[in-house]
């Protein structure tokens, strides 16, 4: 957030002038308006409360305005201020007035205000620069308010995310536990799935937004395998930016497909290969299509009962794309085809 320049008056709030004498009110408002400040004038207690509720940036009062009723109305307004607010108030005192006593009285009557005193007669330059600096102080207070609101919003969002992540981890654990046949197997699968979740989270964070590209998901999923010698995973497609949710789902799906391929599929044999390709249709509405194709592995047989991976792929890809994927256990290799409207999954950086 940049500080507004003094000449950028459009960003400033208006000045509320409270002057019982019509000539004073006209003189002051003319003086301020000549410097492009916005001014609202009120002559007394009657519409003061309404004028204060319009949130002026600065209140400017003449000595005559300081009646007990006005003091009370302003005190009530100040008491209702939010925590960030410290209303600037400029008071024009008469020459020869006991200013020490008045200042003490006002500082007592109006706590949480930022008071500025001038003696009449006052030059335009003096008054305007005082009012402008009070308006700028008010603007900074509003910045503080915006920061506070943003922090509240961030804390709420953080709580929501943490809850969601814990729920996801619980779900992953429960689902992994169901399919597990041994403690070691459970530990390995659980670690792998959490690792996939962690990596996609980091990628979304790096992207500095709520998005991640398919290309990034492909590298974060396959690179660790490639580093340990699984160079037989070929992947390619155009740049497609996914939302955080869609990206997370895709990362977990590719993790399931990869680990399955390493354990039982094409990557369990040195000559086996995997191709993951994706494309986007030219015509509207644009569709995203993705294909996972294994070849060269051991002969594939359709399992008698769908395992965790298959059930997860079906559920997750249908939820993500709105259409169930086509998973076929071709004898030559597993094939998984998924597609749906790009608008469902696309992320807006």
């Amino acid at each position: 957030m940049s500080d507004p320049e003094l000449d950028d008056v459009s960003a400033l709030d208006h000045v509320l002038v409270l002057a019982p004498y019509r000539s004073d009110a006209m003189f002051l408002s003319k003086m301020l308006r000549e410097y492009d400040l916005r001014v609202v004038v009120t002559s007394g207690i009657n519409d003061l409360v309404a004028c204060l509720s319009e949130a002026p940036g600065v209140l400017l009062l003449t000595h005559e305005a300081l009646t007990p009723a006005v003091l009370d109305a302003i005190a009530a307004h100040l008491a209702d201020q939010q925590a960030w607010s410290e209303m600037p108030i400029v008071v024009l005192l008469d020459r020869g007035s006991p200013d020490g006593r008045i200042k003490a009285a006002l500082s007592h009557a109006w706590p949480r205000s930022r008071q500025l005193f001038y003696k009449r007669p006052i030059t335009a330059v003096e008054l305007v620069s005082g009012v402008q600096s009070a308006l700028l102080a008010r603007l900074r207070q509003r910045d503080v308010r915006d920061h506070i609101f943003r922090e509240i919003e961030l804390r709420r969002e953080l709580n929501h995310r943490v809850k969601n992540i814990l729920a996801s981890v619980t779900s992953i654990f429960e689902m992994t536990r169901r399919g597990a046949t041994s403690m070691d197997g459970l530990a390995e699968d659980f670690r792998g799935r959490l690792g996939a979740l962690d990596k996609v989270h980091s990628a979304v964070f790096r992207a500095d937004g709520e998005v991640v590209s398919i290309g990034e998901i492909v590298s974060l999923t396959f690179d660790p395998y490639r580093q340990v010698g699984f160079e037989r995973i070929a992947a390619g497609g155009p740049t497609v930016i996914l939302s955080r949710e869609a990206g997370t789902t895709l990362a977990l799906c590719l993790h399931e497909l990869s680990t399955n391929a390493i354990k039982y599929g094409a990557l369990s044999r040195p000559e086996g290969q995997v191709a993951f390709e994706w494309s986007v249709s030219e015509n509207e509405p644009r569709e995203l299509s993705m294909t996972w194709l294994e070849s060269g592995g051991p002969p594939v047989e359709e399992p008698s009962r769908a395992g965790y991976g298959t059930r997860y792929l079906r559920s997750a890809l249908k939820g993500m794309l709105g259409r169930a994927p086509n998973i076929t256990f071709d004898r030559g290799g597993l094939r998984c085809e998924a597609g749906g409207l790009l608008s469902r999954v696309v992320g807006n950086p």
């Binding site: 969601n164 729920a167 996801s168 939302s243 977990l252 997860y312 939820g319 469902r344």
Partner: protein, 112 residues
């Protein structure tokens, strides 16, 4: 992942998982023609804090719902359009109770 887990639990409990939507917009656009006896709804969906709107929308169509959310405090303000709130993460027992509610309780009167 959470949806998948809930889906598996729903099926384990002998019910049918009809489908899931990530946003209120998607629900409105795509649920026509689907039949289901109840809905589990989070407070924040991908199109914002639209869970309560979704619950109200279903309520007007006579379909009961429960919130499944980490934000029970927010959900509690919408008791008039839902049967209650399940805290995330939900276990089998609580989910079973909720699904029984859908089974027993006919949807709210859409004209009330």
């Amino acid at each position: 992942m959470i949806v998948f887990h809930v889906e598996q639990m729903i099926e384990d409990l002998g019910h049918v998982f009809a489908g899931s939507f990530e946003s209120f917009e998607a629900l409105k656009a795509e649920c026509e023609g689907m039949t289901f006896d109840g809905a589990l709804i989070d407070i924040d969906l991908t199109d914002g804090r639209t869970g309560p709107l979704a619950a109200e929308w279903l309520h007007r169509r006579g379909i009961p719902s429960m919130f499944l959310t980490g934000q029970a405090d927010v959900a509690s303000g919408y008791g008039h359009v839902s049967l209650g709130t399940l805290s995330k993460p939900v276990g089998m027992d609580k989910l079973a109770e909720a699904l029984e509610l859908f089974r027993r309780k006919p949807g709210p009167d859409p004209h009330d």
